[in-house]
Each structure stands twice: as structure tokens, then as C-alpha cells.
Amino acid sequence: MSSHEVVRVIRDIQRQRLFDVFDQDRAAFLARYNLTEDERAAFLENDYKALYDLGCHPMAVLFFSQANKVPMAQYLRAIGAPPERVREFEKLMG
């Protein structure tokens, strides 16, 4: 498990403004990093729960969902937040 490398991918995407490059050819972008197959699959499938469960820093997983323009409520539902919290964010942010 290399959760540090997962954080590195997300930091680079966020801070170097590389999301478009990443999204254009995710497999090629991810090939630059020393990821496990599970981690690579999670990035390819926008599987926030998997990234979360693999030990990636939750703040980084949130940033990755924001780069994908995922609404907060949808992100919270994906990682298993309680339904009342999901509803709260649906109400707050539409």
C-alpha cells in the first residue's frame, strides 16, 4: 500500500493545475507514479470510497472530488457519511 503516492498524485493535479492533463489520458498520467493496481483503478473510476479506505488522506480525497466537480453531498455519500449529513449538504449547497 502506497497511500503517500496517492496523495502525491492529487497534490500534483491540484497544485500544478494538471487536472485537464490528467483527465485527458488518466492511464498515461498515472503511469508516472508508483501506484498499486487498486490505487490506479480508484483513480480511473473516481472511486472516492476506495481511495479513502486505502488510507489516502481524507483532505486529498476531497480535493480530488472537487477537481472532478463532484457536489459535496455526493462526495459524502460516496465515502459513507451518515444520511443526515448528506441531506444537510444537499440542502445547503443544492
Binding site: R8, M59, L62
Partner: protein, 271 residues
């Protein structure tokens, strides 16, 4: 001899600029008015340099190499244009910063330093309100409040004391203001995202406002954890409190829990 002319601590919740519309209107307005007052305090204090105790959000550091406290020593440092914040290049005072690191080494405090720090909303958001023209040099001291383990709260308080001593003893005739950012309770990116600990927040603000920091510097990691991972940012407040312990604190903004912004909004000055 240098002089400490002001201390400021403020919330830096990213939705203050990133999603202003989701806060209840009057409460949001009071936060912006709080920032207006802070800007006035800074303007009247006329500092030659601001020392900002802040933190980053996975912008520079990875878990592979984590400094406890890292001083910006470049001639300037860029901000991240996130949450509707501008892309700015914040001027620094590299001579001051490097002398501070030397002073720290001579006084049993081993600070890391970097000429390449990028400043995210943790620093950029407060500066956008306090120095919107980015015309005051800012030396940033990033504290690790993201990756565990983290430096103790007591160490952050001592760091503030050390920097204030440096200002008085070895920083020439500069007028120096201190800024601390972030907090108080909040959870980020995990299943409790959006939650806060109101009891902790009120207790924390009361302790700061009392001007007696004994209970705060005794906080252990497990005491902070009850207020969420975001509460680790109180280290930035404690550093300012240490730097300004000779001055009485004054609460400028007291807004407990703003829905949508996911934090309480507190602001305090020392002068």
C-alpha cells in the same frame, strides 16, 4: 530594537471567499466586517513585516517529508488562486527570515526553511482581506497540522515566544505584526465533514480571551482530536498568543458555527 506592534488571529475557512452565498446573510456580513476591522488594525499598526503562523493543505508537503515548522525565506511567495482568491505574489523579507532561522538555531529551536513555499488559502485568504494590495512583506511560518504526528501545542506557543524575542533582540528596528490563521473545531474530507464541536470552540475562545494560556498549552493531541482534524490549526493561534503574551487580547469577532462554512468564525487581536 525591533517592536511587536500587533497580533491578529482569524478563521481562514475557504468558503468565506469560495462560497459566500451559502452562509446566512447577516452572519456572513459580520465576518466580512470583522475582516474590515482587522485590516484597519493592521493599517494603523503600520508594520514593516508581518509574521504569519499558518498551515498548508497538501500544497507543498507530502507525508514523505514533513517539517514541524517551516519558514518562508524566498524574496516572495506565490498564492494559489483557489476559492475565488487572486493569484498573488506575496513579498517577503528574506533577510529577516534567514536571520530568524539563525537566531532559532542559536536558541535551541531547529526550524526548517524553504525558498519555494506556495501559499494556499490558509495564508492567502486572510492576507486577501488584511493586505489586499500585498504591499506589506510577509514571512510565513507553516506549522504541520495536517500529517500525524504533529508538534505539540506547547511547542507552537514557545515558537511564538521565540520569534517575539528575535524581533526585540535581533531584527533591527522593524515594526512587526503577527498573524495566526485557521481553527477552531472542524472536520475535513471525512465522514464528519461539516461537523463542529461548539463546546470546544466556546471554551477555546474564552481561554484565548482571558489572556491566560496555561490550559491551552497543556492540550494534548487527544484533547484536540475531540474537535476534529481541522482543530489542529489552533497551533497557529497559540503561536500568536506566545508572541503577544505581553499584550491583552480583544475579541473582534465571535460567530459560533456558520452553517455551510463548516466552522465557527472567531477573530482576536492583541495590542
Amino acid at each position: 530594537m525591533g517592536e511587536v506592534v500587533l497580533g491578529v488571529a482569524t478563521v481562514h475557512a475557504p468558503f468565506i471567499t469560495g462560497a459566500p452565498q451559502i452562509a446566512p446573510e447577516q452572519r456572513g456580513r459580520r465576518v466580512y466586517e470583522g475582516f474590515d476591522r482587522l485590516r484597519q488594525y493592521v493599517s494603523e499598526a503600520a508594520p514593516d513585516v508581518i509574521v504569519a503562523f499558518s498551515n498548508e493543505h497538501i500544497t507543498n508537503f507530502l507525508p514523505t517529508l514533513v517539517p514541524a515548522h517551516c519558514v518562508s525565506v524566498g524574496d516572495s511567495h506565490p498564492t494559489v488562486p483557489e476559492f475565488n482568491l487572486p493569484a498573488a505574489n506575496v513579498p517577503s523579507d528574506s533577510e529577516f527570515a534567514k536571520r530568524l532561522v539563525e537566531y532559532a538555531y542559536d536558541n535551541s529551536f531547529d526550524l526548517a526553511y524553504s525558498a519555494e513555499l506556495t501559499l494556499d488559502h490558509g495564508t492567502g485568504l486572510p492576507l486577501s482581506f488584511l493586505t489586499p494590495k500585498y504591499d506589506i512583506p510577509v514571512v510565513v511560518i507553516l506549522q504541520n497540522v495536517i500529517y500525524s504526528p504533529m508538534p505539540s501545542v506547547a511547542r507552537s506557543f514557545e515558537l511564538g515566544q521565540l520569534v517575539a524575542r528575535f524581533v526585540r533582540e535581533a531584527a533591527g528596528d522593524r515594526r512587526v505584526a503577527f498573524l495566526g490563521t485557521g481553527g477552531v473545531s472542524h472536520w475535513v474530507g471525512n465522514t464528519r465533514h461539516g461537523d463542529i464541536n461548539i463546546e470546544f470552540d466556546k471554551w477555546f475562545l474564552a481561554q484565548v480571551a482571558s489572556g491566560s494560556y496555561d490550559a491551552l498549552v497543556k492540550l494534548r493531541q487527544q484533547d484536540i482530536d475531540v474537535a476534529g482534524d481541522g482543530a489542529n490549526e489552533i497551533r497557529n493561534w497559540l503561536a500568536v498568543a506566545g508572541a503577544c503574551e505581553a499584550f491583552p487580547p480583544k475579541v473582534v469577532l465571535d460567530e459560533t458555527f456558520i452553517p455551510g462554512w463548516n466552522t465557527s468564525a472567531y477573530q482576536v487581536i492583541w495590542q
